[in-house]
Amino acid sequence: MGLSTTRFGVFNPEKPHENRITDIGPRHFWEFFPPVIQRNYGKWLYHEILEPGVLVHVSETGEKVYTVRVGGMRTMSVAFVREICDIADKYCDGYVRFTTRNNIEFMVDSEEKLEALKKELASRKFYSGSYKFPIGGTGCSVSNIVHTQGYVHCHTPATDASSMVKALMDELFDYFQSMTLPAKVRIAVACCLNMCGAVHCSDIAMVGIHRKPPAIDTEYVAKLCEIPTVIASCPLGAISPATTPDGKKTVKIREDRCMFCGNCYTMCPALPIADKEGDGVAIVAGGKVSNRISPPKFSKVVVAYLPNNFPRFPEVCQTVKKILETYAKHARKYERLGDWAERIGWEKFFELCELPFTYHLLDDYRLALDTYRTSTQFRFTEAAWEVSKAARGI
């Protein structure tokens, strides 16, 4: 019996509980493994990256599996997924895999198949000229940018994600297709501070931010929201109850306490925070999740605000490229961006990347004190002389 082609299919709205199947979980993983993966499960000995985007894994059984990794749009149509299936059917016996970074991986068990597969992937393009299946993203490269929904599907974004990622990856395409960096560089985009995805621990990440306090839809606050919940939602206690002159219950906001996190809007649709001039992008850098050499660490804010310049975000692209290329030029082999910044000192990082250091970058949230330097161990940069001059020290 095929998938139903009637309005309600196997669901009967008259008897909604009849024949109901629930709690069956995901498909079991085993039957989705290609046979070569099944045969060598847990037996892998070592791997090697043969060229950008191409991996070989060698098993103790002597078998090999070749993987071609291609960058993927996270949002893709069924037309595109069917094309992925066509390729997987033609070369990979009908198996395909996706990665956490939204790459697509095609696996074959011989070098002959590998060459044909690579050729086919590189040849497929959209009518507008963009690649459909660009090969790359392995090793010391910029892998696919992990991102969130943005304007395509999110109700709280401060910027868009799909467009920014497209603009950035066009700009960084050479770094996706090569392995010339000192270490891997993982880039991420989140369209608001909720940060669906690990952008707070990425080498470079863009975060959508608001800069204006929420507007208050006074007529509707009490109708749409529970006022005590709204008040409790503010991490800084900036929201308090109020009454309008005609006796309606509403809230008031102490604007000097607002840090524009948008949490009140999440709890209450009558407090919209999005605003064309207010919204934009912050850039954070230097985070990682791996334990390799140094422990996992958070990204730090290095640019407090750049404008939402749709659709190509020139300021964002230029800044990211500058940071990436400065890192590529100065860091040592194996050194992740954050490790490099810590070795040379963040003061040097700002100087080399030609990024202004403004008051926005001084933490004043919880545990801020931990970030204040309590040592005379620092490097001199132009910024230091500015302070010395202002204090009439020199």
Binding site: G2, L3, G9, N19, R20, I24, G25, P26, R27, W30, E31, Y41, G42, I49, E51, H57, M73, M76, S77, V78, A79, V81, R82, V96, F98, T99, T100, Y127, S128, G129, S130, Y131, F133, G139, C140, Y151, V152, H153, H155, K166, D170, F176, M179, T180, C196, H200, P235, D275, V289, N291, R292, S294, P296, N308, F310, P311, K333, Y334, Y365, R366
Partner: protein
């Protein structure tokens, strides 16, 4: 090798398919160049060029196909993709999203898995007046058979927008955009024909996710797929029926490289480690030194970094300096190894994780909302993980009990631990403290002594005190 918990239907696309090959024909480049969608989208069209795959070009292809399908070959508006593109374009112009805040929809008996979404301009964009998300619980490690994917595509073309995410940030396969009426049919079609369930959303267990693990990685210290599947199945109720203070995420990484970023994103991060010695193949070490093997598995291939120098690139970079070379023999002081993976990553053919493997269980990772970002912290330094993983399940149940009892609305586990203090949390789940849980012990001596710690307790007799001290 593994037994699924639920009988799995073998998926044969040819038996399940809805559309004919002719209906699924892709447009030619010529046809696409002449194709105009119903809205003007000059800003979005700027994103059709450039080398990176263009989601705009892709969505237009889908819009073209929906123009061609017969009326009874799709259950939601024909214009859905065109209206989506139109609304995104307008969002660029306005600098603000046009999705309405919230909206509660779902399937019968579940509290999660579906996210309500409505356009705030339904008159202008009627095709996306309802545009709900469905989270589909992805198979562990995201391997697929094309028969399954094609069947999913037909289902979603017929009952949804034809737009999906592979995959969402939490790991689910995501269907973007359908109407309220089609939610139940989609859910039951998947259950009956594809043996496939929804994932989590809302204040429940979110869809667990794992790395590629033993399927194609030599580093995996435990069976990430099997643990992920077993726990997903075991906690179905928690996954589908929100009863928690807020979301809860499990993520499983096979080694400290942490390829699913569990330490940053999961309330419970399970990271594979070993407690014996790194396995060394001295012949391979010599081969790396000689230059016969390419270091770092070829990850630095794109640039000339000079000849491989084991001293500089491995031994000196070891965070605990626990390695040394004697002649061409490599020695590791495993007692001082902190398993950072660097030496193994650089010389995968010479060094391998030990054989007495398990996982470090960490808790409390999250993004900044509300109390600031937190990385997961060490809770259980080492845990053996063997099916059916009862030790891990019991630990999770204890943690949930405390969190559900003590947690406030929208308080993540990490925030609760911060509020109650680590030792109170440990006390509540019955684990002893250990120095592995902290970077350093506390610097202030403001210790909350318990009454039972102190001889005689807290009760004091002021008259007794005054017998020695005048007022």
């Amino acid at each position: 090798m593994f037994k699924p918990k639920v009988p799995q239907k073998e998926i044969k696309y040819e038996e399940l398919r809805i559309y004919t090959d002719e209906e699924l024909r892709n447009p030619t480049d010529e046809e696409m160049k002449n194709f105009k969608i119903k809205h003007d989208i000059p800003l979005l069209e700027q994103l059709e060029s450039g080398p990176w795959p263009s989601f705009v070009a892709d969505l237009k292809v889908e819009a073209w196909r929906r123009r061609k399908l017969a009326d009874d070959r799709m259950m939601i508006p024909r214009d859905v993709v065109e209206d989506l593109l139109g609304q995104v374009e307008l969002s660029f112009v306005h600098g603000e999203t046009h999705w309405k805040h919230g909206g509660i929809v779902g399937v019968i008996g579940y509290g999660g898995g579906v996210i309500g979404r409505y356009s705030d301009l339904p008159d202008k964009f009627p095709g996306i007046a309802h545009f709900h998300t469905i989270r589909v619980n992805q198979p562990a490690s995201k391997f697929y058979k094309t028969d399954f994917l094609r069947a999913i595509c037909d289902l979603w073309e017929f009952r949804g927008s034809g737009i999906m995410n592979l995959h969402g940030s939490t790991g689910d396969l995501i269907f973007l955009g359908t109407t309220t009426e089609q939610l139940e049919p989609i859910f039951q079609e998947m259950a009956h024909h594809l043996s496939q369930d929804l994932g989590g959303s809302g204040s429940n267990l979110r869809t667990p996710e794992c790395c590629v693990g033993r399927a194609r990685c030599e580093y995996a210290c435990y069976d990430t797929q099997d643990v992920c599947y077993e726990l997903t199945m075991h906690f179905q109720d928690e996954l589908h029926r929100p009863a928690f203070p807020y979301k809860f995420k499990f993520k499983f990484s096979g080694c400290p490289n942490d390829c699913v970023a569990s330490v940053a994103r999961a309330d419970l991060s399970v990271i594979g480690i070993w407690r014996d010695k790194i396995r060394i193949d001295q012949d391979a070490v010599r081969a790396y030194i000689k230059g016969d093997l390419i270091p770092n598995a070829g990850a630095h291939r794109g640039r000339d970094w000079g000849k491989f120098d084991i001293q500089k690139e491995v031994i000196d970079l070891c965070p605990t300096k626990c390695m040394r070379l004697e002649g061409e023999e490599l020695y590791i002081d495993d007692e001082n190894c902190v398993r950072c993976m660097h030496c193994i990553n650089v010389m995968p053919r010479a060094l391998r994780p030990g054989t007495d493997t398990g996982a470090c269980v960490m808790v409390g990772g999250k993004a900044p909302i509300l109390e600031g970002a937190q990385l997961s912290m060490v809770l259980v330094p080492f845990m053996k993980l063997e099916p059916p993983y009862d030790n891990l399940k019991e630990l999770i149940e204890k943690i949930w009990e405390v969190w559900m009892e003590e947690g406030k609305n929208r308080e993540r586990l990490g925030e609760l631990i911060q509020r109650m203090g680590l030792w109170r949390f440990l006390d509540a789940i019955g684990l002893p403290p250990a120095p592995q849980m902290v970077w350093a012990p506390r610097a202030n001596p403001y210790i909350f002594w318990k009454e039972e710690d102190v001889p005689g307790g807290f009760k004091r007799d002021i008259n007794d005190y005054r017998s020695r001290h005048a007022r």
